[in-house]
């Protein structure tokens, strides 16, 4: 990549982006109860401030030559040949993410003020949320893989804390732990990738690594690519590490919206896009990315069809949508922009959807069982409208956000013009259909039909502090796609990062693609109406269902597989080792001691107390000594 200018002026202060929310978190955590009254306001303010700063920085960035600046801060670790400097890289890509994070972040902070109003630990919630924003910004702004790794694990911690926010619930605590552990599995991959880079190139900074990618052997590159992918899968809940994401819904809904829909889970996409120079050199790794994306896309979509928990459905939808993004970035230059565009739009409408779901739960006394919803459209008009818009955007209703970005991905896939291309394209289209199905099912079960509420539930619209962010986001779900793809093409903005957007020779005319996808989408909607809308929704899920449904309800047995392949053997191994350590290793030592004791008492018997025995031993000794000496000297 081209030379990076040192930052001056405003951009030199871009580290404040991270510092602000971090300071907020510190104040709230150390401040204790004193800060209870205004803590949430401070938390929101810091993030909003960061958003403003991000906007200003981005505007300034636009007229920096090369549209990319390096903010060098201080020496982090320097010993031997390793020299890691703490610094930021502010370029179009990180700028886009910074805007997304701070923007959506601010909205969700505002929303949380209302959503968490009655929680005694609201201050702690905002502290963690600020912590997350800071870590996430470090992740996307860092100028080296080490910095990225630090942010990477930082957001892992934040997500752990937030999922376990209601830690007295065992389920929440367990989900948090699960999330952290599965992330760590991915982190191992990321760490190893960094080690390889250092071993091969002696540096870990983006500039250094990408600058000398050419010097690396193909095998090494592939290894790096796959290791990075492992990391990405962990963080973005991609196959085979997708199982933690749905459980993460144990956290408060704003968390699900911000971390587990809009921002953190897309870090994997960021990582791969950021490492484009590496992936461009290794088709193998890139193919694997494609495969992962495609598989996850389907898994998520299928599982999404079967759940009755509104948040779980949205979670699996997230998994599936990120699958789309992976698929896109896996396509290489053709897909990076498409993937990122979808990432941004998804950030808007999925966040919106979650906030809507939160609002619904708020109305339904925190119930998440869609079988107990129904007919809420009239009771929660604002939620209904905003949620509806998000829904349309997600299923790719023409001319809404999802429509543009998803189509772009499918086009890019088909443009490969090979077997892979057709397969992936097909998968993507099928996914679109499934998406339409499960989202329509969700809409119908929640907002239409007869009210199946629990007795004593009186739905009411949420306060404006919650609805306003929803409205804003729904506007995003309408316009974002058009803006990013047509009006101000994201491609041009990101051009310094991914190079010229190459004019792909369309295998299939975009229009055709658009029609096909829309058609499939309508089929999905129709199917959903046939299955769910027409007939009465049973309050309890039917037991006697087809194997397919059962598989889907169990998320294709992901947990079962993890359990039987990892957890059980692990526990067994642990138990076995504990036994070995006590009986075997320690046993050997104690056994030795016991043996000495035993031989001691046995030898002691020779001390019979009879003079004549003693005399015998002496005589024997004497004879032995004399004999030995004679043998030595004469022999």
């Amino acid at each position: 990549m081209e030379t990076v200018l040192p930052a001056e002026g405003l951009l030199g202060w871009s580290w404040l982006l991270i510092a602000l929310p971090l300071a907020g978190a510190a104040v709230l955590l150390l401040g204790g109860r004193r800060t209870d009254r205004w803590g949430h306001l401070l938390g929101t303010a810091t993030v909003a401030g960061a958003f403003l700063l991000a906007v200003l920085c981005t505007v300034r960035l636009a007229d920096v030559e090369g549209r990319s600046v390096d903010v060098d801060l201080f020496t982090f670790i320097s010993t031997g040949e390793l020299d890691v400097r703490a610094g930021l890289l502010y370029d179009p890509l990180s700028a886009v993410f910074a805007l997304l994070i701070t923007g959506v972040g601010s909205l969700i902070h505002v929303y949380s003020i209302g959503y968490m109003a009655h929680d005694p630990a609201r201050r702690r919630f905002f502290a963690y949320l600020n912590l997350f924003v800071a870590a996430m910004l470090l992740l996307v702004l860092g100028n080296s893989f080490v910095a990225l790794y630090v942010g990477w694990e930082g957001v892992g911690l934040a997500s752990y804390l937030l999922i376990a926010f209601w830690y007295t619930r065992p389920s929440a605590a367990t989900a948090a732990k699960k999330a952290f552990i599965m992330n760590r599995v991915g982190d191992v991959g990321l760490a190893l990738a960094i080690f390889v880079m250092f071993a091969q190139l002696g540096t870990t900074s983006y500039a250094g690594v990408f600058g000398s990618v050419g010097t690396l052997a193909g095998g090494t590159l592939t290894a790096i690519g796959l290791l990075l992918l492992l990391g990405a899968c962990g963080k973005s809940g991609q196959f085979p590490l997708q199982a933690w994401l749905p459980d993460a819904m144990e956290g408060p809904t704003p968390v699900s919206a911000l971390i587990h829909a809009a921002t953190m889970v897309t870090a994997g996409v960021y990582l791969i896009a950021r490492s484009a120079p590496i992936y461009d050199e290794t088709p193998t790794a890139r193919t694997v990315v494609l495969a992962v994306g495609a598989v996850t896309l389907l898994i998520g979509a299928i599982a999404g069809c079967a759940f009755d928990d509104i948040k779980k459905v949205l979670a699996y939808s997230t998994v599936s949508q990120i699958g789309y993004m992976f698929l896109a970035v896996g396509l290489g230059p053709a897909g990076y922009v498409a993937g990122l565009a979808h990432l941004l739009t998804h950030g808007f409408f999925k966040a919106g959807l979650f906030l809507g779901a939160g609002s619904v739960m708020h109305a339904m006394d925190d119930s998440v069982d869609m079988r107990r919803f129904g007919g809420l459209a009239r009771k929660l008009p604002v939620t209904f409208v905003t949620f509806g818009l998000g829904y349309l955007a997600l299923i790719g209703f023409p001319f809404l956000s999802g429509f543009y970005t998803k189509d772009a991905i499918i086009e890019a896939a088909l443009d490969r013009d090979d077997a892979w291309g057709w397969i992936l394209g097909g998968v993507a289209v099928l996914g679109a259909g499934l998406t339409a199905f499960y989202m329509t099912r969700l809409m119908l079960m929640t907002f239409f039909g007869r009210a199946r509420w629990e007795p004593g539930v009186h739905p009411h619209e949420s306060p404006s502090v919650m609805t306003v962010p929803m409205v804003v986001l729904s506007l995003g779900s309408i316009g974002a796609g058009f803006l990013l793809v047509k009006a101000f093409p994201l491609a041009d903005w990101l051009e310094p990062v991914f190079g010229e957007e190459h004019e792909a020779a369309h295998v299939v005319a975009p229009l055709t693609v658009g029609l096909v996808v829309t058609g499939v989408m309508l089929v999905g909607v129709l199917a959903a109406w046939l299955f769910v809308g027409r007939r009465e929704v049973p309050v309890t899920a039917p037991v006697r269902v087809s194997p397919v449904t059962r598989a889907a309800r169990n998320a294709l047995y992901a947990d079962t597989i993890n359990e039987s392949l990892v957890m059980r053997p692990g526990q067994w191994l642990t138990r076995a080792l504990v036994w070995v350590d006590n009986r075997g290793v320690d046993g050997a030592v104690n056994g030795l001691a016991a043996g000495l004791g035993g031989s001691s008492s046995r030898l002691g018997r020779t001390q019979t107390g009879f003079v004549r025995t003693y005399a015998l031993s002496m005589l024997g000794g004497a004879v032995l000594v004399a004999g030995a000496l004679l043998a030595v000297t004469s022999g």
């Binding site: 390793l82 007295t168 605590a173 080690f195």
Partner: protein
């Protein structure tokens, strides 16, 4: 400034202090505590001043003192520090006052009542006296530049720790104390044979025998002999460190030791082993070190995973922490025997960071035990709701020991791994898998004790009312080692949050964890020259 004999003072002050504290009349417990704390603080100040006087660009060994001690053996009372020793001395100076602070309430009526029947409450004067004597020896062992002197301190250290465990430990303290002593003694005696062997070699090479480290470094010893001598030293250090499979004494000792003792045992005493690898095994026996490196690396890496898995299988918190330490020592050994500057520097930094992080972890566990009166993880649950500060510190300590970026341990673990990867990729990869296990054992313990509903010895909150009498009845007894109960079930109590004293004890460590997590460079600058010097003795590749 640097003419002042810091090191001599750092040995003499606590030694004299120990005598003074022990000499205090019966019943002057408070005075004993204050005196001990004062002395240890003086040592801390001395350590810091020594660090200031230390010139990172200067000679390898600084602040040196040397007087003939036993001329007939060619033994000098020679002290001096390089960067490695210096940081360890700083750690010693830091931990001892905290330990004293943490043990403040031990022996208080509240704590002694829960001693198991038969043993009358021991006067804490001797506890603090032993502690100070131990500090003197620990300083000596790191500051000695004469192998004989080093050995003397190395063995002498056992005695105070033996009494700390045996007199003030938990139910099985007799077994633990003897096991600790014998294990270390076996290693030590084998090392003694090697030390003498080294002396004899020096006699034959230099005409007259010497124990001076710098002189011995210059010898070129026949490889065959080197191997024997290396093994002699190695066994001793591998037991101290400890490396699997010579580790089984540590869980027992650490679990039975009073918390203060456990902190120093795991935080510093065991570091003497890894310190010994770096200071003695590598420079004195380069060929043998290279020859045995693969073996050691295997032990190290196996230890990382093996101990981590075992940690998960523990139901006793102190044993769990002990096993995590064994796993960490695997990392340190990996870093040392990878023979690269980055890894070795990381390993030394790891020694410091582990002392801080695991020290904190032990202290917090102790505070937990002081409240709950049980070491069993299963007896706890939902503590976070009642003692949020305690839970927060526990979490920080836990995250530090699972090497989360932003905490000090990350830097060292990262350095060890990234440094050993280029030379020993396979071992590094296997060890890296350990970071997942680390997350597992820490979070399992944290979830079981802190999260979930109140359980076991933790009485559920009675509404949102103020702490009931149950809460006040259990005034925190500090990290009371004596509070360890044999009786499984104890009446559940409301958990009170950290007292001011306890916060004062943990705060410095928490701060260090975070600061060193972001700014490790000052330490690295102290450590690196010594490491490069060591590796050049070894003739290592990079």
């Amino acid at each position: 400034m640097s003419d002042f004999p810091f090191l001599v003072a750092m040995i003499a002050v606590p030694a004299v202090g120990a005598a003074a504290v022990a000499a205090l009349p019966k019943g002057r417990e408070l005075l004993a505590k204050q005196l001990a704390l004062g002395v240890s603080l003086v040592v801390l100040v001395l350590a810091v001043l020594a660090a200031v006087a230390f010139d990172t660009g200067g000679d390898r060994f600084q602040l040196t003192t040397s007087v003939a001690w036993i001329p007939d053996f060619g033994v000098d009372f020679a002290l001096g520090v390089d960067g490695i020793a210096l940081v360890m001395l700083l750690l010693v100076g830091l931990l001892v006052p905290l330990v004293i602070g943490a043990s403040w309430e031990d022996g208080a009526p509240g704590a002694d009542t829960v001693r198991e029947a038969g043993t009358e409450a021991r006067s804490m004067r001797f506890f603090f006296a032993w502690l100070l004597l131990l500090e003197a020896f620990m300083v000596g062992v790191f500051a000695a530049t004469d192998v004989f002197l080093f050995y003397v301190f190395f063995e002498a250290m056992l005695v105070p720790m033996y009494f700390l465990i045996g007199s003030f430990g938990g139910p099985r303290r007799q077994y633990a104390a003897v096991k600790f002593f014998l294990y270390s003694l076996v290693g030590g005696l084998i090392m003694l044979a090697a030390v003498i062997g080294l002396y004899v070699v020096s006699t034959s090479e230099l005409g007259e025998g010497t124990f001076a480290f710098d002189a011995l470094r210059e010898l070129d010893i026949d490889p065959g002999v080197q191997k024997l001598l290396f093994l002699g030293f190695f066994v001793a250090f591998a037991i101290k460190a400890p490396l699997v499979p010579l580790h089984t004494w540590l869980p027992d000792s650490a679990a039975e030791a009073p918390i203060g003792g456990a902190v120093l045992l795991v935080g510093i005493l065991d570091k003497v082993g890894t310190f010994g690898f770096l200071r003695y095994c590598l420079p004195l026996f380069p060929d043998a070190s290279r020859y045995f490196a693969p073996m050691v690396l295997v032990l190290a890496v196996v230890g990382v995973l093996y101990a981590a898995l075992l940690a998960m299988g523990q139901s006793d918190m102190k044993r769990l922490v002990a096993y995590t330490s064994i796993s960490h020592f695997g990392f340190i050994a990996l870093g040392i025997f990878a023979f690269t500057t980055e890894a070795a520097t990381g390993a030394v930094l790891y020694m410091v960071n582990h002392g801080i992080a695991t020290g904190l972890l032990f202290l917090v566990v102790g505070m937990l035990i002081a409240r709950g009166g049980s070491r069993q993880i299963g007896d706890y649950g939902g503590v976070a709701a009642q003692a949020p500060k305690l839970a927060a510190v526990f979490l920080v300590a836990g995250l530090a020991s699972l090497a989360l970026p932003g905490t000090n341990s990350f830097v060292s673990e990262f350095l060890v791994l990234i440094g050993s990867f280029p030379e020993r990729p396979v071992y590094a990869i296997v060890a890296t898998a350990g970071i997942v296990l680390a997350a597992l054992y820490i979070l399992l313990m944290y979830q079981r004790t802190m999260h979930g509903p109140a359980r076991g010895v933790v009485a559920p909150l009675a509404g949102d009312g103020p702490a009931g009498p149950a809460g006040t009845a259990d005034e925190p007894g500090g990290a009371s080692a004596t509070a360890v109960l044999t009786a499984p079930a104890r009446t559940a109590v409301r958990f009170v949050d950290l007292s001011r004293r306890e916060i004062a004890v943990v705060a410095p460590l928490v701060v260090l964890i975070l600061v060193l997590g972001v700014q490790p460079q000052p330490l690295l600058d102290i450590i690196e020259p010594a490491v490069t010097a060591t590796l050049s003795d070894l003739g290592a590749t990079r």
